[in-house]
């Protein structure tokens, strides 16, 4: 579907108007409606997995997993807790903006959920520009919210048009008090150029990594570590900014990085290739994959299966994987060296997943880093952030209130 500027402008006006009605409702009401909408969407998604798989180019089991793990975070309690956190974060009364325009990316289809639910929770109406590659899920979310409550449903709408449609982009942002953009740095720049004083909430290009310290590598813990890490890698076929591209592994006399890589491949990625199969590989990504795997093989460090591969190589310089379940294992003497290597990623580093024993140390070091603003989370949860997880170094409600 492609919407023209006239339609985009009309929907923006309609959503803006509906926002005034929505803001008269209570936060508790909105939390209730949103949780009902999420439950309804979870049921619908189950029945439309084929279409979602086709639209997202993820396998059906992966679509099911992604929808379930995302939508189950949208509970009334979680939303009320989030609202409480937002209230206590400032001395002043929260003053929601009149309209948020959201530009979605196509790599992680469920990213629309937090991007839409959180503003609506605070009474902020939302106009969503869906990815031209994947407009189905945002439209399903809109319809589910409409079925939960008409006031809520009227305050959200979805448009779709090709990037670069100058008139439609202008119509998308002209009534917005803030614009939230998920996408490449090129997309951010293009939208930013259309904005004058309207704040931009940027969710640009990013990558994530994982760290496994010695406590996670003992015989008793290794299976669990591998299992969690594999899920983080395989979720969304490693296409998201929270997907670990690189795993720093503390090398010990008992466990070489090559041994770790082989276990990760055979006990983790191979298993998940059966339960959560990878989707089709776009030929363009495949070209990069062939080069990346070939170089790793030339270096003598590749462990591969049909739809995944693990390369072992030194922590620096970083050679980014082409995603789609191709991951690098980098041996390091310890956390200090891993963090030193991460410096090269700078502000593009979004998240560091770590084993539970290492999390406090990783958090402390990241907090004191002048160059890194990544969040920390436990391995196994990198792709399932809670509703209140920060985004790009900010609270999830960042930009939704007038200052």
């Amino acid at each position: 579907m492609t919407d023209n500027a006239l339609l985009v402008r009309a929907r923006a006006a309609s959503v803006l108007e509906a926002g005034k009605v929505l803001s008269a409702s209570t936060l508790a009401d909105r939390a209730h409606w949103l949780s009902q909408g999420a439950s309804s969407l979870a049921r619908q998604a189950d029945g439309r997995c084929d279409a979602l798989s086709e639209a997202t180019r993820l396998s059906i089991p992966m679509v099911e997993w992604a929808a379930r793990t995302t939508l189950e975070t949208i509970t009334e309690n979680a939303m009320l807790g989030l609202a409480q956190d937002a209230r206590t974060s400032t001395d002043r009364a929260l003053d929601p903006i009149g309209l948020l325009s959201v530009v979605l990316a196509g790599n992680v289809f469920t990213a629309s959920v937090r991007g839409i639910v959180v503003p609506l929770l605070f009474g902020v109406p939302v106009l969503v520009k869906a990815s031209s590659r994947e407009a189905l899920f945002p439209a399903m979310l809109r319809d589910a919210l409409r079925s939960a409550d008409s006031r809520l449903g009227a305050a959200i709408d979805v448009v779709a048009f090709q990037g670069g449609d100058i008139e439609a982009e202008a119509a998308l942002v002209e009534l917005a008090e803030a614009v939230s953009v998920y996408g490449s740095n090129e997309t951010l720049e293009a939208i930013s150029a259309r904005l004058e004083s309207t704040p931009l909430i940027a969710h640009g290009h990013g990558v994530s990594v994982a760290y496994c310290g010695t406590e996670a590598l003992g015989d008793a813990q290794l299976g669990d570590t591998i299992s969690k890490l594999s899920l983080d890698i395989c979720a969304y076929d490693q296409r998201g900014c929270l997907s670990p591209q690189l795993v720093y592994v503390e090398e010990t006399p008992d466990r070489s990085s090559m041994d770790f890589a082989e276990r990760l491949a055979k006990d983790g990625l191979e298993l998940l290739s059966r339960t959560l199969p990878r989707g089709p590989l776009p030929v363009s990504a495949g070209a990069a994959q062939a080069q990346w795997r070939g170089i790793a093989e030339v270096e003598g460090t590749l462990v591969r299966g049909d739809t995944y591969a693990v390369s072992v190589r030194e922590a620096q310089p970083i050679r980014w994987s082409p995603a789609y379940r191709n991951v690098t294992v980098a041996p390091v003497p310890g956390l200090d060296e891993a963090l030193q290597a991460m410096q090269a990623i700078g502000s593009s580093l979004k998240c560091v997943g770590a084993d539970s024993a290492s999390i406090p140390k990783v958090e402390a070091q990241l907090a004191s880093s002048p160059t890194l603003s990544a969040t920390t989370c436990a391995i196994g949860t990198m792709q399932t952030p809670s509703l209140d997880a920060p985004a790009d170094g900010h609270p999830i409600w960042h930009g939704l209130f007038r200052t």
Binding site: A287, A290, V298, E299
Partner: protein, 354 residues
Amino acid sequence: MTTRTELKARIEAQIAGFEAGQQVDAASRDELIEDLAAWQASRIPEYGRLQRHGAWPPALPTDVFRFRRIAAHPEADDLRVFRSSGTTSSERSVHVYRDLGLYDFAARVAARHMLFPDVDRMRLVMLAPHEDEARDSSLEYMLARFAEWFGTECTWVWRDGALDIELLMEQLRNAEASGDPVAVLGTSFAFVHAEDGLGDRRFELPPGSRVMQTGGYKGRSREVDREVLLEAIQGRYGVAAQRIINEFGATELSSQMYDTTLREHIDGSAGLRRLWVPPWVRATPVDPDTLRPVEGESVGILRIDDTANLDSVCCIQTTDLARRLDGGIVVLGRAPGATPRGCSLAADQALGPP
């Protein structure tokens, strides 16, 4: 035990056979590729580590040429080093030669067959730097050999690091006045810059004239769609579309592929524009996961097994997307996100920032 001398003789025999008008048997080419790959794997450790996928020898990714010296001979025996264009050393592929005999032989026979099948020699205008200004460019090396093999006279309109628009106009006007056909050869970038520099001036090059363009854009300057550039060149130089052909080459390869249109036009046949693959080369779109040939005309990533790559690696995995068509290959461009490479950048760098 196969020796280099034996392998070289077999490669030369294939090219010479084709030059003599003999049918080159695909099975004997494939057997040569097998033997060549086995010999190279035993001498080049990086290649020897690659695993075979399917029936064919493994193909070495082009990116490896950016990180490792790929050669079956010691560095002391390097006769010539070609580098792809790029701004840093890690972006530049390096292909070393101990012997340019096969390169020359393959380049001459292919160009004679596809670019100059109807004339012995003709006037050449090169929209590229002279070999002396770009000693490490395989394209400039090839064009310099073309000047020797196919040129009555040759003018290089890239001089002292700049496109000499006045000289280009003079050459084109001279060709118009003399009525002698001319071949204008250069990079796609160079043709774009000529478009910008020539303004409203149009030319009607004499019948028999032709244009060869090569290389991509690598995201460093304005890009012009292939069809748009083709149309622009037609209008600018007054040369029919069939006589404007693309050459496909790469630093990592020793052989070139050419659009079929000129040859088919001269032969009186007409087919869709596609690349002709020399019979000593095997060009195959492969599935990126399995690295095995794709079915029919499906799009895959282009693998090129170039037997003229004797002293490096014959089987090369590129990042170009391609499909088969009527016995030839259609290259659809580089995969998005793939490492930029190619021959055009040297010319663009010479021009300075766009």
